[in-house]
Amino acid sequence: MAETSAEGTGTLEALSLVPKAEARQSMKDFKSDQEVRWCPGCGDYAILAAVQGFLPELGLAKENIVFVSGIGCSSRFPYYMNTYGMHSIHGRAPAIATGLATSRRDLSVWVVTGDGDALSIGGNHLIHALRRNVNLKILLFNNRIYGLTKGQYSPTSEVGKITKSTPMGSLDAPFNPVSLALGAEASFVARTVDSDRKHLTEVLRQAAAHPGTALVEIYQNCNIFNDGAFEVLKDKQQAEEAVIRLEHGQPIRFGTDLAKGVVRDPATGDLKAVTVTPRNEAEVLVHDAHAASPTTAFALSRLADPDTLHHTPIGVFRSVDRPVYDTQMADQLDAAIEQNGKGDLAALLTGHDTWTVVG
């Protein structure tokens, strides 16, 4: 199928090649006829609703949207979207989506994955998708547990987690997905929370607009096997002290009455949370998501205490422009035609050294 050329210039560079919907869309347009089968109370419902509610904003032809998932509870997501979709195999969604996105630039391709799918069995595909910067939007539902296999610890579970497979506590040090993504050369990394619809939607908006791979970690509650894992970030009172909201261009302040802020420790260059005083107010870090270096974004990703989740930044850590893999791949095809002309099969098969047998 030929790529559709850009019709006018979309507001979003990342989606400029994707055809627009002819009519206004609503959330209903994105709901499939399939009954949603997550456990009652699962955080996935909120994320599904947020995605279905946000997509009409993009105004894309829904036949040009594809959701690709791996295996796990979150990976049932595509069945509930009235778009094209593939529920693939464990861990491989980024690889499959890469093939689709690089061969069809007229599509908006989304990957839905979980902490086990993306960081354990599929870790390799995730990091390579990020470093290549393929035009994919990866939604990583992180509930810090294996749900579908009924409750084993995951690569984001805290050390010492008691589960069926770790009755004496898990020994593995967890991944910090944001740190991992930044280390894998990601051009867009964000974190949000399932229950904060407004924040989640805003992060999705920014991810959709990003040209290249966008990784969005979504803290998602598994009310069956890891209930309350993110309670400290959701409980209004506790959240004030626990959550650090990142906004590009704004000083990084949090806590009751924004009494606290993040400053750089001049001794180590690291970041730390302090109580803001008139003396140190000028030192409070101003968030720069577009910084060329990922160093500060990485330092921000390390602020959170992996056990208590205190000082957890949410929002867009990093959003920088970098050459997009599928664009460059298409450019090489164009350049090859420019240099050598459109492929001539007869000439190719003939080559240079031939001889002729006359009958």
Binding site: E63, N82, M86, I96, G99, D106, G343, T350, G351
Partner: protein, 646 residues
């Protein structure tokens, strides 16, 4: 194929002034020129000596001269194994003839040995009286000791049964390059071109192609280009002037062996890459290759990467799984999708092949088989992935399997694999092997009009009417004839659908755990593959034989050569060769039933024989070899004769 080398002793001093003789410098009449109908030459040296390049060039010269030919490159997996050792020996064997030939030949008539290791590693393959050209400069005490020679074989009389030509190739090359500003080491590196020049003189090969090749290859380093040319010419002139080489040989073009047409020399991997590009054009679908480098399949990735102006996208993935994953993603998007690998890669791709079986999307999985298990013998050939291709997945996951028989046949088989994949919406396993991949032979270049039409129709609208009259799209509503499901690609309005690896309800494609539905879907997927239309098996049986030889894949050359030998000796034997391994041709059972004995030669421990026995209850006799090398015709002829007589 009885002895076709005309022994010089039998035909003393026959002058040649027939076709071909005038195409290059005539040896001025001072030396004898003898005519042969075929020759087998083996170039052998250190893996750093450039033997593969030398062989390639000699092959190109031979192809452009119009001989029939067949080649067998044989090299270690190490890029530069320790110099001068037996494991470091790299060789290239070329069989060329004035008539139709099928194999690279059993035993070399001429061995070019660039060092003692090359001599030692290859001597056992030489028949008595073979010519041996050795580079005496490399026969130092140390080099001899390295490979276990206490005394130089050049001096102890152990080579008395051969016609030995001791040539100080290195010294002669360095002398010839004195006028160039090169270090001795740099000059020495051209010794393979000196050897090529000498052999080109001996066999009256055209030289223009090699000269042009060297100019082009070293265009940016004119001194190196000039030095290699000078070494090449010096080798030629050495042959012409030195008394040691009293005779040169002519092998006339093999015009009569070939149907009319334009020909070129082609290796299996190149033919396969071209076949994929041709299939993409014939299907009018963009070609997408997702691949991870692996010997001996990487050359297909390299080749396709050079043809982006055909709209070919090549994606070097992070691993084998991502290679096939990306290909499957592209297939979902409507591309002609391919992944290329070898046996270990197929093992890693198994789960994704299973997904493709479940999704029922077209996908070509190309397995260039090599010695196994595990890493095995990366640069050697084997046919031991047949059962992996057939059954190497969880669940009932039938996949069509198809195998080329010769290097040139890889082109046609790529097109045939694409036909099946596209028409039946299924992954297809194409089983080539290291011998076909790297070996080469003449290929009649097809006209684009001769190629099959592979165009497919994507789903464009609803294909089902519900009871209430609503028109809907059902992604698993099948074509009643092929049982293929519709291919509805993203971007098609109204056909939005979700597919996945979980069992699907017949028709709607919705998730279904219904027991009866699963039973139905398993049987339907099997029926779809079983019902693939493939041509009947052709049997070559001119004399009403009682014994049938049944082969598949790259054993075609040696099997056919062996069958010819037996028939020439008056033994009746029938031959059939399978291209389609799954499904088998419809008439296979009937063919097998016609014969008292069925012999199945394979480069594995009897995998096809197992399938034949299981499916047709035929007492097939397995004849096997797994030494990393193709069968020799003589060996097969003996085995077949024993089977017939036994």
């Amino acid at each position: 194929m009885t002895s076709q080398v005309s022994s010089p002793e039998e035909q003393p001093g026959e002058r040649v002034d027939g076709p071909g003789a005038g195409e290059q410098r005539n040896p001025a009449g001072v030396k004898d020129v003898r005519r042969l109908d075929r020759v087998i030459i083996r170039f052998a040296g250190d893996s750093g000596d450039g033997m593969q390049l030398t062989g390639d060039r000699f092959t190109s010269e031979t192809a452009s001269f119009g001989n029939d030919l067949s080649t067998l490159p044989n090299f270690p997996a190490e890029i530069r194994a320790p110099a001068g050792t037996l494991p470091g020996v790299s060789s290239f064997q070329l069989h060329f003839a004035d008539h139709d030939i099928l194999t690279p030949g059993d035993a070399p008539d001429v061995l070019v040995a660039m060092n003692p290791a090359a001599l030692r590693a290859n001597l056992a393959d030489l028949p008595p009286g073979a010519e041996i050209i050795v580079n005496t400069d490399e026969f130092t005490r140390r080099a001899l000791q390295k490979v276990g020679y206490a005394v130089s074989p050049l001096e102890d009389g152990s080579l008395a049964g051969y016609r030995l030509h001791p040539v100080p190739l290195t010294t002669l090359t360095v002398e010839a390059l004195q006028e160039f500003e090169l270090s001795r080491k740099e000059a020495e590196r051209s010794k393979n071109m000196f050897a090529l020049g000498l052999l080109s003189w001996m066999y009256h090969r055209p030289t223009a192609g090699t000269e042009e090749f060297l100019q082009k290859k070293f265009a940016r380093r004119p001194v190196i280009a000039a030095a290699n040319l000078a070494a090449f010419r010096a080798g030629w002139n050495f042959g012409e002037t030195t008394e040691d080489f009293a005779v040169s040989y002519e092998v006339a073009p093999a015009g009569a062996a070939f149907p009319p047409g334009t020909y070129r020399n082609i290796s299996g991997n190149l033919a396969l890459a071209y076949g994929l590009i041709a299939a993409s054009r014939q299907a009018d679908l963009p070609l997408y290759l997702g691949s991870y480098p692996i010997t001996p399949a990487s050359d297909i990735l390299h080749e396709l990467s050079r043809h982006k102006n055909f709209g070919v996208r090549t994606f070097q993935a992070e691993d084998e799984i991502a290679g096939i994953g990306a290909a499957l993603g592209a297939a979902f998007g409507g591309a002609l999708a391919v992944t290329t690998t070898s046996g270990p890669g197929v093992a890693l791709k198994s789960e994704t092949i299973g997904l493709a079986v479940s999704l029922e999307l077209p996908l070509l999985v190309v397995d260039i088989q090599r010695g196994g298990p595990s890493t095995g013998l990366p640069t050697k050939t084997e046919q031991a992935d047949l059962l992996q291709a057939m059954f190497g997945r969880n669940g009932e996951a039938p996949v069509p399997v198809i195998a080329p028989r010769t290097a040139a046949d890889c082109f046609d088989v790529a097109l045939e694999a694409a036909r099946i994949a596209l028409a039946y919406r299924t992954p297809v396993l194409l089983l080539s092997d290291g011998y076909l991949a790297n070996g080469s032979e003449p290929w009649r270049i097809p006209e684009p009009e001769e190629l099959p039409d592979l165009r497919v129709q994507f789903a464009q609208g609803p294909n089902h009417t519900l009871d209430d009259g609503t028109e809907v799209f059902w992604p698993y509503k099948r074509d009643p004839h092929t049982l293929a499901r519709p291919w509805a690609v993203p971007g098609t309005p109204g056909l939005e659908h979700r597919i996945g690896g979980i069992e699907k309800q017949d028709g709607t494609g919705h998730i279904s755990y219904d027991p009866a539905n699963h039973d139905f879907m398993v049987r339907t997927r099997q029926a779809k593959i079983d019902g693939i239309e493939v041509p009947d098996l052709a049997v070559d049986d001119p004399h009403g034989a009682r014994t049938l030889v049944l082969g598949w894949g790259s054993t075609y050359g040696p099997i056919t050569a062996a069958v010819r030998r037996l028939r020439a000796a008056g033994t009746a034997i029938a031959q059939a060769h399978l291209r389609h391994l799954n499904p088998f041709p419809r008439n296979l059972g009937e063919v097998l039933g016609r014969y008292d004995k069925v012999v199945v030669p394979e480069m594995n421990l009897g995998q096809l024989a197992t399938l034949i026995r299981a499916k047709y209850l035929v007492d097939a006799r397995s004849y096997t070899q797994v030494n990393g090398m193709p069968f020799k015709a003589e060996q097969l002829a003996t085995a077949f004769k024993e089977a017939i007589d036994g």
